[in-house]
Amino acid sequence: MSSHNQDTTVAQTTQEARMGEGVDDRFNSKLREAFGSSPFILTKFDNFMNWVRGSSMFMLQFGIACCSIEMMHTYAVKHDLDRFGAGVPRASPRQADVIIVPGTIVSKFAPRMKRVYDQMPEPKFVVSMGSCTCSGGPFQEGYNVLKGAEEVIPCDIHIPGCPPRPEALVYGIAKLQERIANGESSPVTVKPYELEQFGDLEQDELVQHLADQIDEEDLVMRYNWAESQ
């Protein structure tokens, strides 16, 4: 830009000009300094992969209820979750590693959420945000409400609060990243849905009637809250 610059770059290639003199310090970080002159590191592949996974996570753009408003605030200006390498919401579950479950899960939605979760590629991680996803929260006694996300999908981190503040969500996600980087949060493999033979339900007329109605290709969820409490 200035004349001084032009003077020094006259006899150099573009690459040299960018790098400056001497050692290649394109990666001019503390890490690079720590490596010294050697550009190689020796580590276990698993450790490396864990570190990579924790450092770059794609979230699923997934809103359910009140908590999704705070989640949006966490993604947007001021809190800016992207600073922590975990803030680009993907609209398709097939492109996401992490699902934040932000809100009350009711009977009609639970199978759909399970479907979305199943569509995510492994390894996948679940952050359950808010009291509703921990236990049903203020709606726990509702006839239509699931007592927590864990009844449907396995959760790695629970963030209580109604709703949790954005700071809490950032902290929860940072904790998840830490666990992933340390290899403490193992990817969960969940069996795809199976038609449950209505388990321990008494085979009365109603159950039989429902069982007849349902195709074997169907996903079936059974809710029996009396026992889940």
């Binding site: 009140c66 200006v77 001021k78 919401p89 009609k108 709606f139 006694e141 006839y143 239509n144």
Partner: protein, 558 residues
């Protein structure tokens, strides 16, 4: 473009006197349809035989001018089922009348009101779903909130809340399998329930003809979290107030709390000190600003399809509002700040700092709004997408019970803050905003201009609060520890929420908990009008129309 001839003024004024409505004249007008009369706290109610519902409602609508079916409440008593149709006038919502339709326990069937008021469609489906009343001649009577395989009706007296339920989801169901059924060239498309454009968990079953929407059907109930049951389990004094925050959760908490506070205070005859009314008015308008800003941000998100500057700008301004509200209430989103008879606590100390912070926001507001107008409403791309799309004519909107910015965007001059005054609105200087475009753009414009009006209201409230004498700052009146209204007192009251008319019906049963608690959600009625806006339009316009309706699923499904 309505071709309906305007009704002569004399017809709409049947029974109107200077002292309010003369219900005897109305009863005479209805003639032998009425078999009994009840007195509710908000209005008189005419009891009608289950097979004369259409007669009664069409007389009241066409001859007496009750053109707004605000709500349909269904409930079960020991000896009967009851549907209550709460009617109002769009011209003057203080003129109310209810139509009560009792049906027997053994055969809870009554006539559907759908042929008179289009909005009754969804309301009656909900009544069928939750209480189990059947409506004859209803075009499409099936469950609306609960899964179709649900057994029983949860708000019945003998409902078993812990009965196991089975909810199926067809695996590998091909959303396009209805492609070209029987030689037609339409295509079926699922939008949602998990989709960025549906503003939550809404499922739109869309049939496309080319790129045009041939048919759209909303499938709701993915966030039906039993709000009415929760309120029926709570005591009036403290346990209900946290729930309204969670109906319309887009920072509109105070507006919802006010709906409950107003209804319960009228029910239990509780006075609210003037000082508390000013604080309520101010905080409610702050909530309205926050809510409209999110509506703006997500509408832009729908139009442009990305987290662009507009979304970030509106979130940035919401953060400022939320900071102010947090100073006031201690919470960012779920305020729980109102109490029956006042508010929880006074303004935060030091007061000067709070005033300064709020004033800073208000001073900044005009320039922010100008920026939004430059960025959004003045933008040619957005105008092309939203002007003259999603059109809903005023008469159609009224028939669907649309209220709030949706109605005002269609030129219906209806705002409960002015027409059915509560709080401190009457004493303040502000205007009701209407636009005549009836399209997506008008609804957006109404919201932006309402933000401006809310700013005016807050400014006046701040002046009042600042000058309020220190020894008269009563934030709560004396309210008994336990509130037990007289048994069988019934009341329906509404306030102007962020999305429109938010009403609550309460029937007391002599205990400290409500016998029936019914929520009239503005989004529920507004969403019902989506097919009117979207059918025949292109599919991106369907998305824009949905965005401009500004629904929040917590309130639609309750």
């Amino acid at each position: 473009m309505s071709l309906e001839a305007p009704e002569p003024a004399t017809q709409a004024d049947v029974g109107v006197t200077d002292d309010g409505l003369d219900y005897d004249t109305l009863e005479a007008l209805l003639g032998d349809v009425v078999i009994d009369r009840e007195t509710h706290l908000n209005a008189e109610a005419f009891v009608v035989q289950p097979d004369r519902v259409v007669d009664a409602l069409s007389v009241l609508k066409n001859k007496a001018g009750f053109d707004h079916l605000s709500c349909v409440t269904a409930q079960e008593y020991e000896d009967r089922y009851e549907s209550i149709y709460h009617l109002k006038k769009f011209d003057d919502p203080t003129q109310e009348v209810s139509v009560v339709v009792p049906t027997s326990v053994h055969d809870p069937t009554s006539q559907s009101a759908e042929s008179v008021f289009r909005t009754a469609d969804w309301h009656e489906r909900e009544a069928y779903d939750l209480v189990g009343i059947e409506y004859d001649d209803h075009p499409d009577l099936r469950r609306i909130l609960l899964p179709e395989t649900w057994q029983g009706h949860p708000l019945r007296l003998d409902a078993d809340q812990e009965q196991p339920q089975v909810v199926p989801l067809r695996e590998h169901a091909n959303p396009l399998q209805e492609d070209h059924p029987g030689g037609s060239d339409t295509m079926f498309l699922n939008i949602g329930p998990h989709h960025p454009a549906t503003h939550g968990v809404l499922h739109l079953k869309t049939t496309l003809n080319g790129e045009q929407v041939a048919d759209v059907e909303s499938d709701i109930g993915y966030l039906h979290r039993c709000e009415e049951q929760m309120c029926q389990q709570g005591t009036y004094r403290h346990q209900i107030m946290p729930y309204p925050d969670r109906w319309d959760y887009i920072s509109a908490g105070m507006l919802n709390e006010w709906a409950y506070a107003r209804t319960a205070e009228d029910l239990a005859d509780i006075e609210v000190p003037e000082y508390a009314q000013v604080i309520r008015t101010m905080s409610a308008e702050l909530c309205r600003i926050a809510s409209h800003l999110l509506a703006l941000g997500t509408f832009a998100l729908d139009i442009y399809g990305d987290f662009t500057a507009i979304f970030m700008y509106s979130i940035r301004d919401r953060e400022v509002v939320q900071d102010i509200l947090e100073d006031l209430t201690g919470q960012r989103l779920m305020f729980n700040y109102f109490r029956l008879g006042g508010v929880a606590w006074d303004l935060p100390e030091p007061r000067e700092q709070f005033f300064e912070k709020t004033r800073d926001f208000l001073d900044e507001l005009p320039s922010r709004l100008e920026e939004y107008h430059n960025l959004v409403t003045g933008n040619e791309v957005l105008q092309m997408r939203s002007v003259d799309t999603g059109v809903i004519e005023p008469e159609v909107a009224k028939n669907y019970g649309c209220t709030g910015p949706v109605a005002r965007g269609s030129g219906i001059d209806y705002d409960l803050r002015r027409d059915d005054p509560y709080g401190y609105y009457e004493e303040l200087d502000w205007d009701v905003v209407t636009e005549d475009g009836c399209d997506n753009f008008s609804r957006l414009l109404v919201r932006l201009r309402e933000v401006e009006e809310s700013g005016k209201i807050i400014d006046q409230c701040l002046n009042l609060l600042e000058e309020w004498p220190e020894d008269e700052r009563t934030i709560q009146s004396n309210v008994p520890r336990t509130i037990k209204p007289d048994p069988d007192t019934e009341i329906y009251r509404a306030v102007e929420g962020a999305k429109g008319e938010l009403g609550i019906y309460i029937r007391s049963d002599g205990t400290d908990k409500p016998g029936r608690f019914k929520i009239r959600s503005p989004c529920f009625s507004n969403l019902q009008s989506l097919p009117e806006m979207a059918e025949g339009e292109f599919i991106p316009d369907l998305i824009a129309a949905l965005g401009s309706l500004d629904i929040v699923l917590g309130e639609v499904d309750r």
